[in-house]
């Protein structure tokens, strides 16, 4: 009886529950929209500043809608320094770093996940422990090392390390490999396949989502790297975009409109990348937090 009554009650209140849900939805939407606007406002401020005249940037109180949209700022920004060259330079470094990171880390991770050997866990712990050392501690010894190798003022210090594995990416990919059943590897081995072949033919295709994550993170890292090129490159013809942007920042004053225009242009590939690979970005974050 009780059950029936409850059931009937539920049916009779169905409308109002749906109404409530709708109301809840609207509240959610409003909250989410407010959150998005909050998150996007710095981007809006960049865009608005990038089209203002310097005189307007300096106006007090600041204007949230520009008096005039000076799109020519973008042209002037691009011409203020050899940004074409900087783009080619940055792309060269970025592409090589992404190639290195994707293949090398995957290869190492496969070894840690699927090839049993003596001392594997100890070695893996050592690799992981390198993550605990802050980059700034190794900065100077690294610089001296590269100087001794005669690599200063070249891209070697920026590119070669990507071909020697990075602990975080190895960890990320190893966790992914752990989800691939050992039976699959065993079966391939029975067929006479070598580990190299298994990695190339089975490992790589199966770990595509994780590889995409690694590729995206490496792209972002190399594209946005400021300290590396700053330290190792001396010749202005080898400068990258991030270094190029610094011409707008002076000791006393900053050309905000050009700086913002330049920053937006440099940010563009990252945004485009985000829209195309949104799925992997989110997956990457899940992997990062250990959710996988």
């Amino acid at each position: 009886m009780v059950k029936q009554a409850a059931g009937r009650q539920k049916v009779s209140h169905f409308e109002t529950i749906q109404g409530r849900r709708q109301a809840l939805n609207i509240i959610n939407w409003v909250l989410l929209a407010a959150g998005s606007i909050l998150m996007l406002s710095p981007l809006w401020w960049m865009l608005v500043t990038s089209v203002k005249t310097m005189q307007e940037v300096m106006t007090y109180p600041p204007t949230f809608w520009p008096e005039s949209w000076n799109w020519s700022n973008y042209m002037k920004t691009w011409e203020a320094a050899p940004f074409d060259l900087y783009t080619v330079n940055t792309l060269t470094i970025t592409i090589l770093v992404v190639i290195g990171n994707v293949f090398v880390n995957s290869f190492i991770a496969y070894g840690f996940a699927k090839v049993p050997f003596k001392g594997r866990n100890v070695l893996f712990a050592i690799v992981l422990s390198t993550m605990m050392i802050p980059g700034f501690v190794t900065l100077i010894p690294q610089y001296v090392l590269f100087a001794k190798l005669q690599w200063l003022n070249t891209y070697y210090p920026l590119v070669i390390p990507a071909f020697f594995g990075s602990a975080f990416n190895i960890f990320l990919l190893r966790q992914f490999y752990m989800t691939i059943p050992d039976e699959l590897i065993e079966a391939a081995k029975m067929e006479g396949a070598s580990h190299f072949w298994i990695w190339w033919k089975i490992g790589l295709p199966l770990t595509k989502p994780a590889l995409a994550t690694v590729a995206i993170f490496s792209f972002n890292g190399a594209w946005n790297d400021f300290l590396g090129p700053l330290l190792y490159v001396n010749d202005e013809s080898l400068y990258t975009l991030q270094l190029g942007l610094q011409v707008f920042k002076g000791q006393m004053s900053t050309q905000w409109n050009y700086l913002m225009a330049g920053s937006l242009l440099v940010l563009l590939p990252v945004i485009i990348l985000f829209f195309f690979f949104q799925k992997y970005f989110i997956q990457g974050i899940n992997l990062q937090s250990g959710g996988k």
């Binding site: 470094i93 891209y155 013809s237």
Partner: protein
């Protein structure tokens, strides 16, 4: 082996890329250097942080003039971002591959001499004594144990900018800017326009543009740690200063000051340009911002007011030197270039084109009457030259380079109402003395 056909492809890619810019030592710059070496020229690598579309052409013109003036040395300019240039220089010195000439902070020149990061210039000065060409205060800052480690290039000072229209509105004479601290207070009271708890116009706040330390120098002309490494923080004049500054802080209140300060520090929208702030202490070069961003502003400029009549309009400044990093390959050639950089000709060109204070006295004085400046420009530059001999530098202490990190929190304690000025100065004095005795 068919399945590894990507291996040669990857190798080819690597080879192609290794032919690219950036994978051969030195890139295109090195090829250029080689070409010049064939002609028997010495190439100098000159690092500055002047990359803006305003400053870059000016320094490159000076370099070009030098390159054309002789045929033994070819200077190549490299822009390194402001804020990172000296870190990079230190790394390069440590790696044994420094540039030939670098523009560096004047205040730490003696410290770099002590740490052997810069070349001792005394042997050049013995042959070619140019020390008298520069403001004494600047020259002295470059000395460590009597030897020079850098030649002063550009400099600055602090002066008072004021809004003439606001003066008139408040019934003040726009040609009579405040001369003393008391007048400053009195004028500010008249210039304030209050709307409830908020201000529509702020007369003056001493700690926009400069900090507590500048007013303390203004009061007694003595740095916190003097040249004999004596700590001079807890002095009667500095105590007066802290009390006076605290009075200003209480007058406007932390909320008002913080919201205005945030605006000032954003380096954007400056309330002085819009007339919302009536007086402001700034470097003379601030004039170029008024010229470019607030061309209609009716403004005047004055020496920093003195504590009381006769005390002296002492101001505070900094600047940059041209120096040879330790281990540079061709110090003799570097010296030739530095001599040109700091000569009257190059200095005057820099001063006029940049509207910047320079270290060379003759160049400063002749820049002040340059035809390239309009009336406002001349007014500001003349005052800047007048202020130069009154300007103090605060060279980094050799015994306690970071003592300001001990002193500043004590000043904050006063403004936050946590300590009395007496107590704060006593504690700051004790903290710095302790730091020095540790050495």
């Amino acid at each position: 082996m068919r399945r590894f056909k990507w291996v040669p492809a990857l190798l080819i890619l690597m080879l192609v890329l290794s032919g690219c810019n950036g994978f051969t030592k030195g890139g295109s710059g090195a090829e250029k250097a080689d070409a010049e070496a064939e002609e028997g020229k010495i190439t100098l690598d000159f690092w500055t942080f002047w990359g803006s579309e305003i400053r870059r052409p000016i320094i490159e013109k000076i370099i070009e003039d030098f390159n054309n003036s002789q045929d033994e040395i070819e200077v190549k300019h490299t822009f390194i971002p402001w804020g990172d240039i000296w870190t990079k220089e230190l790394a390069a010195i440590a790696a044994g591959d420094p540039p030939d000439v670098v523009i560096n902070d004047i205040n730490a020149t003696a410290l770099r001499g002590k740490n052997q990061q810069a070349e001792n210039l005394s042997k050049y000065l013995e042959e070619d004594d140019i020390s008298g060409d520069f403001y004494e205060e600047l020259w002295n800052a470059t000395l460590y144990e009597g030897d020079s480690y850098g030649i002063p290039f550009n400099t600055d000072t602090r002066v008072l900018f004021y809004n003439k229209d606001a003066f008139e509105e408040a019934g003040l004479d726009p040609e009579q800017p405040p001369k003393t601290w008391d007048e400053l207070w009195e004028y500010a009271e008249k210039l304030d326009v209050k709307d409830g708890e908020k201000y529509d116009r702020l007369g003056f706040y001493p700690m926009f543009g400069v900090q507590t330390d500048v007013w303390m120098m203004n009061a007694d002309n003595v740095n916190f740690v003097d040249e004999n490494s004596e700590v001079k923080i807890n002095t009667p004049a500095k105590l007066d200063t802290l009390e006076w500054l605290n009075k200003w802080h209480q007058k406007y209140g932390a909320d008002n000051i913080n919201s205005w300060k945030a605006q000032m520090e954003s380096q954007q929208a400056n309330p002085f340009f819009s007339g919302d702030l009536a007086m402001l202490v700034q470097t003379p070069t601030f004039y170029t911002q008024i010229r470019d961003y607030a061309p209609d502003l009716n403004f005047g400029v004055a020496l920093l007011p003195e504590k009381e009549p006769g005390n002296g309009h002492t101001s505070w400044g900094g600047g940059f030197v041209a120096e040879i990093p330790a281990g540079a390959e061709n110090p003799d050639a570097s010296w030739e270039f530095i001599k040109y950089l700091t000569s009257k000709e190059a200095q005057e060109y820099w001063a006029v084109k940049n509207f910047d204070n320079v270290a060379n006295i003759e160049a400063s004085e002749s820049a002040a009457s340059s035809d390239e400046f309009n009336d406002n420009g001349k007014m500001v530059y003349e005052l800047a030259v007048e202020a130069m001999p009154l300007t103090m530098l605060t060279p980094t202490s050799l015994v306690a380079p970071d003592y300001m990190t001990l002193v500043n929190p004590e000043f904050d304690n006063v403004y936050l109402g946590k300590k009395t000025p007496e107590q704060a100065l006593k504690d700051a004095q004790a903290a710095v003395e302790k730091e020095i005795s540790k050495k």
